[in-house]
């Protein structure tokens, strides 16, 4: 039996907006095991962003339990959650969120800067290694504004990998990219999956589910389906078959 990375039980999250209570999550339970590539899908308003924030320890549930790598996150203070995010989670955002005018290397080093047990030397080494892994070994010193969207997202992925997280949380990671670049990024995700990384990919694009190992569908704060994908399509194949843009 693989290790339980994420275990949530009857997770509820209510927001108070004025006099009304918005029920974003109305009792969600699932367990994600090590080495899974899970897509969480849903339309806007389905609660997937709230779920992602909760899984990412940015938000705390109103009720229910959440165990990340065996640790109960519920009841943790702000600073403890910041530490958990720093050590156990790798975030990838739709709009990359790289620091402007900063080199790829420095961007990737960033999470380690907030971990005082990592020395400056180790920091640089690990950042460089991660950038090579995502195929940017030649662009260590390129600044974020000198790179294309795809390259920026690769830097962001390297940044999510640099702290050896137990889980990578991607929020619409291909949302801002064209089809071809999307598939090259997806190829990278699949490679990480094959290497044994645990990935949660939140998206509203149903196509992406074809390339993941498991798909959880949310609607109105409930899980409507949770299916394993036995026939994972290769993103790399699609990528190769897409015509290169020659202009």
């Amino acid at each position: 039996m693989a290790k339980e990375i994420i275990k949530i039980e009857n997770l509820k999250r209510y927001f108070k907006v004025g006099d009304e209570t918005v029920k974003a999550l109305r009792g969600v339970s699932f367990t994600i095991y090590e080495g899974e590539f899970v897509t969480i899908m849903g339309t806007s308003g389905s609660g997937k962003s709230t779920l992602l924030n909760t899984l990412g320890c940015l938000d705390t549930p109103t009720s229910g339990e959440y165990y990340l790598d065996g640790i109960a996150v519920k009841g943790m203070g702000k600073n403890e959650r910041a530490r958990i995010r720093n050590r156990k989670i790798g975030f990838i955002f739709q709009n990359y969120n790289l620091l402007p005018k900063t080199t790829a290397l420095e961007n990737v080093e960033l999470p380690l800067l907030y971990n005082s047990s990592v020395s400056a030397k180790e920091r640089a080494e690990r950042a460089e290694k991660c950038l090579r892994e995502v195929g940017l070994g030649e662009r260590l010193y390129h600044k974020s504004n000198q790179m294309s969207g795809g390259q920026q997202q690769r830097v962001a992925i390297a940044r999510a990998l640099v702290n050896n997280p137990v889980i990578i949380l991607a929020d619409e990671a291909t949302g801002n990219l064209d089809t071809r670049t999307s598939f090259s990024i997806l190829t990278l995700f699949q490679r990480l999956y094959r290497e044994g990384k645990t990935i949660i990919f939140v998206t509203h694009n149903p196509e992406i589910a074809l390339y993941s190992s498991r798909n959880i569908m949310l609607r109105d704060g409930h899980i409507v389906s949770d299916e394993y994908n036995d026939d994972i399509k290769s993103a790399e194949e699609v990528y190769r078959n897409l015509p290169e843009e020659n202009d």
Partner: protein
């Protein structure tokens, strides 16, 4: 999170906005520079006054006839005649804390030498006057005790008088000049001193035995004043008390009667002058301090803008593991770097400004190390105080909202 890393982050962030960073710093630079320069001017003028006064004799004591009156109350001529030569003798014989003492009487009039004449005074003193005022005879010699006893018709001229009475440059020693109708033989010329702080020409002066002035010029039997110097500058107060006792006994004053003379020390005078100059310094420093405050507000303004502008960056930092404290420290460090760098450059600017003032305006200036330390401390404090609010604002951001901020 160690502080060293936060420093790196802060420096990096400031480096991304060099122009804005410099302009914010400029406020502090000008503020600190102004404070340094103003305090340097204040300190310089204070020092120069002090130097002038100690040159005049900081242990000097002046005894004047008449009670001390303030507020324009006129004194009768009787009051002005209370100091007699006998009083002088009594002080000479009884006072223990006095190094030198001279009676003073002066007469205004016209000094004449042939076709040349010049309006000035004849300062009647004894031989000890030179020691009290720390003057020297440059050429010739001073009159002697026996000249004083005999009310000899001799004089020692100051440089200004020599220049006006002997414009052709002849040696005045041995020549006879007239003061009013009285012929006096020039036996010496005083050293040149120039103008003092109050703008008086210290060379526009002629010394004559006080007996000569009293008997031959004014025909009076009282003294216009007595000048003395205390043995020890620090014992001036005691010496003044001693003289007061002697004079009260001399004048046979009962306990309930006020003094009919007044005694002033150079120290008092010095305090009076330097308190005026201190007040000016405080005023100048206040104005400069206000500009420093404005500089601090500039820092706060820019930091607030910066926090808003970098909301997403803050959100990102928080989502990858920065705590609220980390974010707060980062922004505080940014503010402190701006203010302290501005402070150091401001001290430099102040030093340059001070040097220019000295060079072009010839004002006496002196940069006090304490003012440098003070500016530095104030700068750091300003960085912390004005950086605190924006930093707290940044640290209180919700990472969920901040990361999606547009």
């Amino acid at each position: 999170m160690n502080i060293q890393n936060l420093f790196k982050i802060a420096i990096k962030a400031l480096g991304n906005n060099k122009m804005r960073c410099f302009l914010t710093m400029l406020g502090v630079i000008i503020g600190v520079g102004a404070v340094i320069a103003m305090l340097a001017i204040g300190q310089g003028s204070k020092n120069s006054i002090k130097a002038q006064i100690s040159e005049m004799g900081s242990n000097m004591i002046m005894i004047m006839p008449g009670a001390e009156r303030r507020g324009g109350v006129r004194q009768s001529s009787d009051d002005m005649q209370t100091l007699k030569p006998a009083d002088y003798e009594a002080i000479v014989n009884q006072a223990t804390g006095i190094a030198h003492i001279t009676p003073t009487v002066s007469s205004s009039g016209q000094w004449v030498n042939g076709n040349n004449n010049y309006p000035s005074q004849a300062q009647g003193v004894n031989t000890q006057y030179l020691d009290i005022r720390q003057r020297k005879v440059a050429e010739g010699e001073m009159f002697t005790e026996s000249d004083v006893k005999t009310a000899a018709k001799v004089c020692v001229l100051g440089k200004t008088l020599v220049d006006n009475l002997f414009p052709d440059g002849t040696d005045p020693i041995g020549k006879v000049v007239r003061f009013g109708s009285i012929p006096l033989t020039v036996i010496g010329v005083l050293d040149e001193k120039g103008y003092n702080t109050m703008g008086q020409d210290q060379d526009d002066l002629a010394l004559v035995p006080y007996t000569t002035v009293m008997k031959r010029m004014l025909a009076i039997d009282y003294l216009q004043g007595i000048q003395a110097s205390a043995i020890d500058e620090n014992r001036t107060e005691e010496t003044i008390a001693e003289i007061t006792d002697i004079l009260r006994t001399q004048h046979k004053l009962r306990d309930d009667q006020e003094d009919n003379f007044s005694i002033r020390s150079m120290q008092e005078l010095a305090q009076m002058i330097s308190s005026t100059s201190s007040m000016m310094t405080v005023l100048l420093a206040c104005v400069a301090g206000i500009s420093l405050l404005v500089g601090g507000i500039g820092i706060m303004n820019i930091m607030i803008v910066s926090v808003t502008e970098r909301t997403r960056e803050i959100g990102l930092r928080m989502s990858i593991g920065a705590t609220g404290k980390d974010v707060m420290t980062q922004f505080l460090i940014e503010a402190i770097i701006i203010s302290v760098t501005g402070g150091v450059l401001g001290i430099l600017a102040g030093a340059i400004a001070t040097w220019m003032i000295k060079l072009f305006a010839h004002w006496p200036v002196q940069i006090d190390p304490s003012s440098v330390i003070l500016s530095f401390v104030v700068c750091t404090a300003i960085g912390i105080i004005f950086g605190f609010y924006p930093a707290a604002k940044a640290s209180n951001l919700d990472p969920i909202e901040a990361i999606r901020y547009e």
